[in-house]
């Protein structure tokens, strides 16, 4: 199955839309990816941290991005590419 799990911190540009915070462009593996669509947003508590997950697609790849609302950092948790 072409899915990779990881937990790398990423650099990202975000925008605030009518739906709230949304990832816009991020850098991973030396490449920039523009988020074409945010497919699902969900939350989870991990200890004292609140994590917000953005399941997004870009250039026929799927990424699961995570925003830690305590540390204000972004991570990639999953990558799926065909």
């Amino acid at each position: 199955m072409p899915i990779t799990k990881t937990n790398e911190q990423i650099e990202i540009i975000t925008i605030f839309t009518i739906n709230g915070l949304q990832p816009f462009i991020f850098k991973w593996a030396g490449k920039k990816f523009k988020v074409e669509k945010v497919n699902l947003v969900h939350e989870q508590k991990q200890g004292d941290d609140k994590l917000v997950y953005f399941s997004v697609t870009s250039e026929n790849n799927y990424f699961k991005l995570v925003f830690n609302t305590n540390s204000l950092k972004w991570f990639i948790e999953e990558i799926y590419h065909e």
Binding site: M1, G20, L21, K37, N39, L40, V41, H42, E43, Q44, K45, Q46, G47, D48, K50, V52, Y53, S55, T57, N60, Y62, K64, F67, T69, Y80, E82
Partner: protein, 413 residues
């Protein structure tokens, strides 16, 4: 006043949420599993998987035999709960009488909010559109609208995925009763069907027309419920989350280590008692009955229930009573599953026992607050040492769900 009850049921829910999150999974057979080991069970399959015979309950090994390229994912409870919160938040815009029935089903009492079934149908389409637009465009649901809870769920159960059915009169009800098997009706499984057949009842119309006194003689009180449901008589109505007291709270776990190791069983039991106790306290309830035991790998098992004179509230109380039962009947063969549940639930009584005080209750509440704030397993009994990855968070198929309906949008800053 004319009653209007709506039942909403998300289609292939966990699988649909996964396909919503990752569009590259769409149009493909996919199964969401409790565990990905060969004996792990599929707890939700996509419509594509269902078409090739891979359904809920199929195990991983069987699914791979049926379709080697099936996508299998381990379930993510937080993802489904979070999505359900958003869906139920939309539903709560239409009525204050919303009953979350399970993680993917809800009843809405629309009495007083709509005046006709036509208005109800427009509302159904509006709700479906909002779910698509505000939660996810891959998520679909079936909906049923009628004047009782039973008929609303019956309607949504028998209609196709991503559609709705309105039963607005006894004529339309009877028409549908004529078209389906008895076991398609909510609450009538194979066992009940067999017993109804013994009374020469073979379909819902015959159930409707059967003398209620005779049904009660055969089934007791449930006989009345069967008759009332088939006659379009409401029994309990839509109950909000605040009105529902669960009948029992419990947890079970299929153990990876199957040897009858008492220390291991004790540790797992402690963890299950902690989870049970947390939910009990979260609901401000105490229990007066306990049920615990284990099943064996090659069949059989041991289960026992016991009434408790002092109400159960703390994890320690639940565990001590459960362990007393199991330790007196330890397994001699390989085990498959351990279970614990508490019942005879009621609101917490603040009366102090002559021989104890509230210190243990207060400690339990304090530990709950710490684990709630800093995460599960922050503070725990030493008996559970090393068990973080066992008996993990799973979505139960229980009929009440702890969904916070007050969150109507994601607040993450």
């Amino acid at each position: 006043m004319q009653k209007f009850i709506l039942h909403l049921d998300m289609n292939s829910y966990f699988a649909s949420v996964e396909q919503q999150a990752n569009p590259l999974y769409r149009h493909k057979p996919l199964g969401v599993c409790a565990y990905l080991s060969p004996r792990g069970c599929i707890i939700a399959s996509s419509k594509e998987a269902k078409k090739i015979g891979i359904k809920t309950g199929t195990n991983v090994a069987e699914a791979k035999k049926l379709y080697p390229n099936i996508i299998l994912l381990e379930n993510e409870p937080a993802k489904y709960r979070s999505t359900t919160t958003k869906i139920f938040s939309i539903l709560s815009d239409y009525t204050d009488r919303l009953e979350p029935y399970s993680i993917d089903e809800a009843f809405l009492d629309l009495t007083g909010h709509i005046k006709t079934y036509e208005q109800g149908e427009k509302l159904i389409l509006e709700i479906k559109q909002r779910i698509t637009k505000e939660v996810g465009d891959w998520l679909t649901c079936s909906a049923g609208l009628s004047w009782t809870r039973f008929l609303a769920k019956f309607a949504s159960d028998i209609c196709r995925a991503d559609s709705h059915l309105v039963l607005d009169s006894k004529i339309s009800m009877l028409e549908k009763f004529n078209q389906v098997e008895m076991t398609e009706a909510w609450g009538i499984g194979k066992n009940i069907e067999r017993r109804l057949n013994q009374l020469e009842i073979y379909n819902l119309i015959e159930l409707k027309n059967y003398p209620v006194a005779n049904l009660m003689q055969a089934f007791g009180k449930p006989g009345y419920f069967l008759w009332a449901n088939a006659n379009g008589i409401e029994i309990e109505g839509v109950r909000t989350q605040q009105e529902i007291i669960p009948k029992s709270i419990g947890h079970s776990y299929c153990v990876p280590k199957q040897e009858p190791d008492l220390q291991y069983i004790k540790a797992i039991l402690m963890k299950l008692c902690e989870k049970t106790g947390r939910r009990l306290r979260q609901n401000n309830l105490e229990a007066k009955k306990i049920y615990t035991g284990y099943s064996l790998k090659y069949g059989g098992g041991f289960f026992k229930s016991k009434k408790i004179s002092e109400p159960l509230y703390t994890t320690e109380d639940i565990f001590n009573n459960a362990w007393k039962i199991i330790s007196q009947h330890p397994p001699q063969q390989k085990i498959k599953m351990i279970a614990i549940s508490v019942s005879s639930l009621g609101p917490i009584s603040d009366q102090l026992n002559m021989f104890t005080n509230n210190v243990h209750k207060n400690i339990s509440q304090a530990l709950d607050k710490i684990n709630q704030k800093f995460g599960e397993h922050t503070v725990y009994s030493g008996k559970m040492w090393g068990l973080e990855m066992q008996a993990k968070d799973r979505i139960g198929f229980r009929k009440t769900v702890d969904i916070n309906l007050k969150e109507d949008e994601i607040k993450y800053l």
